[in-house]
Symmetry: C4
Subunit: 217 residues, 4 copies
C-alpha cells in the first residue's frame, strides 16, 4: 500500500518540497535543458548535509522524492536512489566556504556564450543596471559587479579547489561562470539564491545582446 509522505516520516519533507518548486520553476524558464543543472539546499552544518538534485533527471518534472541527501565527501547519498551529480564537490565547497544556504547551477544560452567569450579575460563587469540591486547587499545601479569566468574542466576536485581560491580572492562574490558551461550562484536562503539566478540571467541577456561574439564556427 503506498503511503502518504509526511514530515513525521521524512523530516526533510518541507525542504524537498521547496527545492522541488524552485527547480521546476528554473526548468520551466529553459535553464535545465537536456537534464542539465544541479541544485542543493543545506539541511545541517554539523555535519554538513545537503539535499541535492540527482543527475540525469528532467528538472521540469522532478518530484520531492527525487532529491538525495549528501554528506561531505559527496561520493554517496545517505538517502535516495539516484546518482549524485559529479558537481557535488562544488556545492559542498560553496556551502562551507561561502556559507551558502542554497546553491543553484543553471545552463542558458547567454551564460554559455558569455562564459566562452570572456574566459580569456577572466570575467566581465556589469554596471549601470538597476537589476544589480537584486543581488544581496548591492544598493545602487552604480555598483560594479564582476562576474568571474573559470575554465571548464571535467576533474571536479581541482575545479572545486579553483572555486575555493576564487572565493578567497573575492569575498562577497554572488556567482561565477564556467566557460561554455553555465552559472553557479547561491544565497543565504533558497529564495535569495533563486532571485540571484533570475537577476544574473536577466543581466546576461542584456550583455549578450550587446556582445560581438566570435563568428561561429
Amino acid at each position: 500500500m503506498p503511503q502518504t509522505m509526511s514530515v513525521e516520516r521524512d523530516p526533510h519533507l518541507l525542504a524537498r518540497e521547496s527545492l522541488c518548486r524552485v527547480v521546476r520553476d528554473l526548468g520551466a524558464q529553459g535553464w535545465c535543458q537536456g537534464t542539465a543543472g544541479n541544485f542543493s539546499v543545506v539541511l545541517s552544518r554539523e555535519p554538513v548535509r545537503l539535499l541535492m538534485s540527482p543527475s540525469g533527471i528532467d528538472k521540469r518534472h522532478i518530484v520531492p522524492g527525487d532529491f538525495l541527501v549528501i554528506e561531505a565527501g559527496g561520493e554517496a547519498s545517505l538517502e535516495g536512489t539516484g546518482k549524485p551529480s559529479a558537481e557535488t564537490k562544488i556545492h559542498l565547497r560553496l556551502v562551507s566556504q561561502a556559507r551558502a544556504a542554497a546553491v543553484l547551477h543553471v545552463h542558458s544560452v547567454p551564460n554559455t556564450l558569455l562564459g566562452e567569450h570572456f574566459m580569456s579575460q577572466g570575467g566581465f563587469r556589469l554596471r549601470g543596471y538597476e537589476m544589480l540591486k537584486g543581488l544581496e547587499g548591492i544598493g545602487t545601479h552604480e555598483a560594479e559587479v564582476f562576474v568571474p569566468v573559470l575554465r571548464n574542466r571535467q576533474e571536479m576536485g581541482p575545479l572545486a579547489d579553483e572555486v575555493g581560491r576564487l572565493l578567497d580572492e573575492r569575498p562577497g562574490l554572488h556567482g561565477f561562470l564556467l566557460a561554455g558551461h553555465g552559472l553557479y550562484t547561491w544565497g543565504d536562503s533558497l529564495e535569495q539564491a533563486q532571485r540571484h539566478v533570475e537577476i544574473f540571467e536577466f543581466l546576461f541577456e542584456c550583455a549578450a545582446r550587446r556582445t560581438r561574439f566570435e563568428p561561429f564556427p
Copy 2:
C-alpha cells in the same frame, strides 16, 4: 480558524484580485524577474490611497493579501505587513499629476537596453507602427510618440520631482523609461495601463532589434 476573504471584511478585495491577476500576468511574461517591478491602483483620491505591491515578492506568485494600502507620503502602509517599495513616491506623483488610476513599472531586456542607449539623447521617437494605436488617444500609426528617458537614481524624492517636471512639459505622456532600469506606464484604468505595458514592450522589442547597441562591456 482561517477565515474566507470577503468584500464585507475587506472593501478592497475586488481591487486586490484585479491587481493580483494583472501582476501575475506581467510576471508570467518575464517582466518582473528577480522580484523586480512595482504596481499600484488608486483606491481613493480624497485622501489619495493606493493599493500597491510590496517590495521583494516573486510577482508570479503574488496573492491578493500581499498588496499594501498606502497613503500620500508613502513611508508606511495602512494595511498589510510587507515593505512599501522605495518607488512609491513615483507612483504617488503619477497618480496626482497625471491623474493615473493605475501605475505599472516593469523591467525587460529591451526596455533596459533602450533606456541605457538613448539616455544621452533624452529619449527616442516611435513612429509608423500600428501598435501605437494601443496607446490611449492615438488614432493612427503615423502619430509620433516620444519615449523620454530619465537618468536612473536611487534618491526617490528628487527622481519623483524630475518625473513631475517631465509631466509638466509633456501633457498626455503615456510612459517613460529610467535608463538601464525599466518602464513606467499608467492609464485611466488598470486594464488600460496593462495594455500600455504590452504595447510599449512590443514596440521596444521592434526598436531593440533595429538598434546598434554599444558593444559590451
Copy 3:
C-alpha cells in the same frame, strides 16, 4: 439563475468555442499583445455572416460569448454587445473574394519589422524552406512564395479595395502583410488558417534573423 449555454439556445456555439480556442492559442504565443489582432470564421455565405472577435479585448482571456455575428456591410453586429473591429471590411473582402472560411490577423515583432522593411519593394520571396509545405497546396520546399506588403492606412474602405486588387492579381495567395502592422492569412477551414499563421510566423522569424534592418531610430 444563470443558464448553461447550449447549441439549442445558440446555433453558433460550436463555432464560438472553436474560434475561442484558436484565438486564445494565438494570444498565448504573443501574437495579440495589447488587445491586438482580429479573427473571424464564416457562419453562412448566403447571406454572408461572420463570427468575429470584438475590438479591445484581451485575446488570451476571450470567451465564446465575446464574439460578434456580423453581416456584409459590417458596421453593426447582429449578435453580441462588443464593438466590431474597424478591420471587418478586410475580413469580408477575403471571405467573398478569396473564398476564405476563416481569416486570422496577428501582430508579431518579425511580421511588423519585415513589413516595414520590405514595403518599398512591395513584398519579399520565401524559398528553400520545408515549412513552406505547411501552406495549402505547396508541395515542395523549392516553391517560391511571395509575401506582398501593402502600405498601412487607417481608411478601411480603400484598404479593403487594395486587398481586393491584390487578390485579383495573385490568385492562390496565402497571406499578406500590412507594413509596420501585421499579417493577414486565411484558409479553407479555421484549422488551416491557424496552421498558416504558425507557418508564416516561423518563416518570418527565419527571415528576420537574416535581415539587416535599418538602424533605429
Copy 4:
C-alpha cells in the same frame, strides 16, 4: 457506450502515453509549429513495428489514440486512421541501421537557419560546450561533435538511402540536419532521444547567435 482505454485492450497503451507526453512537450517548446515534426518509438524489432505520429496533427494537442502502428515498408498503418508521414522511411532506416529505439524530428528557427547556412560545407562542428555531454557517450566538453547537413529533398526513398550512407560513414552519429528543414535525432530510449533534441537545440541556438547568416532575401 465509450470504453476506457486499457492495456488489456491495447498492448501499446503505455508506449502511446509516453510518446504522447514527449511530443506534447516538444510541441510546447515551439518545435512543431504548423503541425510540423514527426516522432516514433519502436514497438518490436522482429518484425519491425513503430508507433508513429500521424501527418497534419497539431502536436501540442495530440492524444495517445492519434498514433499509428507502422510496419517496414511504411506505406500503410496497421492500427490508426491517420495518414503516415512521408518521412516514415527515414524513421525505419534509423531504427534498423542506427538501432534507434526512438526517432524524433523537429523544426526550429535555429536548426532551419544553420542547416541552410552550412549545407554547402556538409555540416558543422560543435566543440567546447559542456552541454555536449548530454549526447550519449560524450564525456567531455572538449569532444568534437560533427553535425552533418544533408540537402533537403521531397523524394523519401533516395533521401533515406542517403541517410543510410551517412550512418555507414559515421557510426555513433547522434543526429543530422536537413538543410532549411530540421533536425533528426534518436536514442536508445525515448527519454534519451528527447534529451538529444533539447541538447542539440540548445547548442544550435548558441551557434546561431554567433553565426553571420547570409542577408535575407
